[in-house]
């Protein structure tokens, strides 16, 4: 039996979907290790405690709430000290983070502070003989390695969208905690958060991604992708590096080795050649559709369905057809 401490990621005062995924993964880990409790750590500005309820709904037996103006922005140094202090209290077998920019910044700090192991960006795990075995990609996504994680507490981070948030309601139990370090004394200070794409689905949260490449020819033609995404209703628009380098789309929309890792249920690649660095970020998508006029484009090697043709002719028809399906309900 091992208790699990889950770090619940907050951005701009909101709980992120990955926090619920992490609680779900934490529940699974607690069950696999013989049934322990899941405690979520929720830190933010005054009032953040109001977000504890949805963590309890997803299976957090208790929520440790840290409210302080010094956590209105991500405060890595004070957070690392606080997570390490909680973990050091001795009751935890594991700590689980989201493998996001924030979680992958925080978890290595905690691991190094405590001298414990960290297995990052896991897509799944089992527990065998008291040891976590976690699946992780190597080689730009071309190799799957099973990592064995010895010692306690052991730290894990889970890849966004690898676990879908599942309801496992608990009565809300919160404990208020204080920061282990003066939050205003941190040397690293986040002075501004620039939210991109507000109001739109994030690439990691969208079940459907419509991604555009250089084959779209000009920034205004991304409207073809936007229209298809709107027709789906639950879609986000992504891009290749060729496109973000041109400045047609922001860097944060870039999918691939040097951009985002995504794993939607449906990935529609529009005018994308399928370079290895692009595939590295999307090859684990459940279903892949490719539209490209070059029948030899490498994207067709990993696509489930392909149309070899002109995006300008095909996209409006596809958008209309998807709209028609959605209209039928």
């Amino acid at each position: 039996m091992a208790n699990v401490l889950v770090f619940a990621e907050v951005r701009g005062g909101d709980l992120r979907k990955v926090a619920l995924e992490a609680v779900t993964a934490g529940r699974a880990l607690a069950e696999l290790s013989g049934g322990g409790s899941v405690h979520a750590l929720l830190a933010g500005d005054a009032g953040i405690g109001a977000k504890a309820e949805s963590l309890a709904q997803h299976g957090a037996d208790s929520v440790l709430v840290l409210e302080h103006a010094g956590f209105a922005m991500y405060n890595p140094e004070a957070l690392a000290a606080t997570v390490a202090q909680q973990l050091g209290s001795g009751t935890y077998g594991y700590a689980l983070f989201s493998a996001t920019a924030q979680g992958r910044d925080l978890s290595p700090r905690v691991a190094a502070k405590m001298g414990v192991g960290l297995a990052a960006d896991l897509t799944g795990f089992t527990v065998e003989g008291g040891m976590v075995l976690g699946q992780h990609f190597n080689m730009n996504g071309k190799v799957i390695v099973t990592l064995a994680l010895a010692g306690t507490p052991a730290l894990l981070s889970v890849r966004p969208a690898a676990f879908q948030p599942a309801l496992a309601p608990r009565a809300l139990a919160t404990t208020s905690i204080t920061s282990a370090a003066d939050p205003s004394a941190s040397r690293v200070k986040v002075v501004e958060l620039k939210q991109g794409n507000t109001g739109k689905l994030d690439l990691n949260d969208a079940p459907v991604i419509v991604a555009g490449g250089r084959g779209l020819k000009a920034p205004e033609n991304f409207k073809l992708c936007e229209d298809l995404a709107d027709a789906f209703g639950n879609a986000a628009v992504g891009a290749t590096r060729a496109v973000t380098d041109e400045g047609w789309r922001p860097h944060s929309d870039q999918i691939g080795q040097t951009g985002r890792n995504v794993s939607p249920t449906l990935y529609v690649a529009v005018g994308i050649s399928g370079a290895i660095q692009h595939l590295a970020g999307m090859r684990t998508s459940k279903t892949i559709v490719a539209i490209n006029k070059d029948k030899d484009a490498p994207i067709f090697k990993i696509a489930d369905y392909g149309i070899v043709g002109d995006v300008f002719e095909i996209m409006p028809a596809l958008t209309a057809a998807v709209k028609a399906v959605k209209a039928q309900g």
């Binding site: 951005r11 922005m73 991500y74 890595p76 140094e77 996001t100 920019a101 992958r104 290595p108 691991a111 190094a112 502070k113 297995a119 990052a120 075995l133 190597n138 080689m139 730009n140 071309k142 190799v143 799957i144 390695v145 099973t146 052991a154 040397r187 690293v188 200070k189 002075v191 620039k194 991109g196 794409n197 690439l203 590096r241 944060s252 870039q254 080795q257 040097t258 951009g259 985002r260 449906l266 290895i276 590295a280 090859r283 684990t284 559709v289 067709f300 090697k301 990993i302 696509a303 489930d304 369905y305 392909g306 149309i307 070899v308 043709g309 002719e313 095909i314 596809l318 057809a321 998807v322």
Partner: protein, 251 residues
């Protein structure tokens, strides 16, 4: 000002990898190697700081790896770094903390004002070494940096989040991990390659402690079943939509 850049020798990824019969590691027969992409951008960042801020005295590159990693160090020297350190280890462990400890032991002695890492090594995909080293040395750390300004003894960086950006201020000395978008790396010039042969390259054993994270087994991801080409125009759209509904069940 002194800058250190940690660089990793990684396989060139444009190949079909194979796993050894015992499932313990990637078969390295026929693999080619280069400097990890993100580390190239970190080297470039260091060289640009050296060129812009007249006060950068030295750019050192440090790599933990086998003897052959001296090739990657020489390439960095050819790009313009001043000196190299090879922390020799026959194999590079899977445990990021073990690597971080060995790098930290070397960096600690150097009195660096900036220590640069890549955001992620594309072979390990660990994305942890930089912040671990920072913690071990008690230095401020900013990860995923794609914009950077250094003024005197303070820095201002922008770091990439999923769909957002954080603007971060920090004092020097500091550890940064460099993301794509900061800059494109220069190619070594012929003159640089000649000069690199005369630049100092220290070789010492890596102080790798015990590892808490080890490889249990390796495998190749399941091949995606061969896809189907449905047509060459919008005439194929109804069939695509039907398959998305009935076969893939994603619509």
């Amino acid at each position: 000002m002194k800058i250190a850049v940690c660089i990793k020798r990684v396989p060139v990824m444009e190949v079909k990898f194979a796993i050894t019969a015992d499932g313990s590691r990637v078969d390295n027969a026929g693999l080619k190697y280069d400097i990890n992409d993100f580390d190239l951008w970190a080297i470039e960042a260091a060289l640009q700081l050296k060129e812009k801020n007249g006060n950068v005295g030295e750019v050192a590159v440090i790599s933990l790896g086998p003897d052959a990693a001296s090739e990657q160090i020489r390439k960095a020297l050819a790009m313009g770094a001043d000196r190299g350190v090879l922390l020799k280890a026959d194999s590079i462990p899977a445990d990021g903390l073990a690597i971080a400890r060995a790098l930290a032991a070397e960096i600690k002695e150097g009195g660096y004002d900036l220590v640069l890492f890549g955001r992620i090594a594309i072979d390990s995909m660990n994305q942890m070494t930089g912040p671990m080293v920072a913690e071990l040395l008690d230095l401020p750390c900013v990860t995923n940096v794609f914009k950077l300004e250094i003024t005197g003894s303070t820095g201002r960086a922008e770091r990439a989040l999923e769909g957002a950006t954080e603007v971060v201020e920090f004092p020097l000395p500091a550890v940064l991990t460099i993301d794509d978008g900061l800059n494109k790396e220069r190619l070594p010039s012929l003159k640089g390659i000649m000069a690199a042969k005369k630049k100092p390259l220290d070789v010492k054993p890596a102080q790798l402690g015990d590892a808490k994270v080890t490889v249990h087994k390796m495998a190749l991801p399941p091949e995606r079943a061969a896809g189907r080409i449905l047509g060459d125009s919008s005439a194929a759209v109804p069939e695509l939509v039907r398959l998305l509904q009935t076969e893939a069940k994603v619509l």
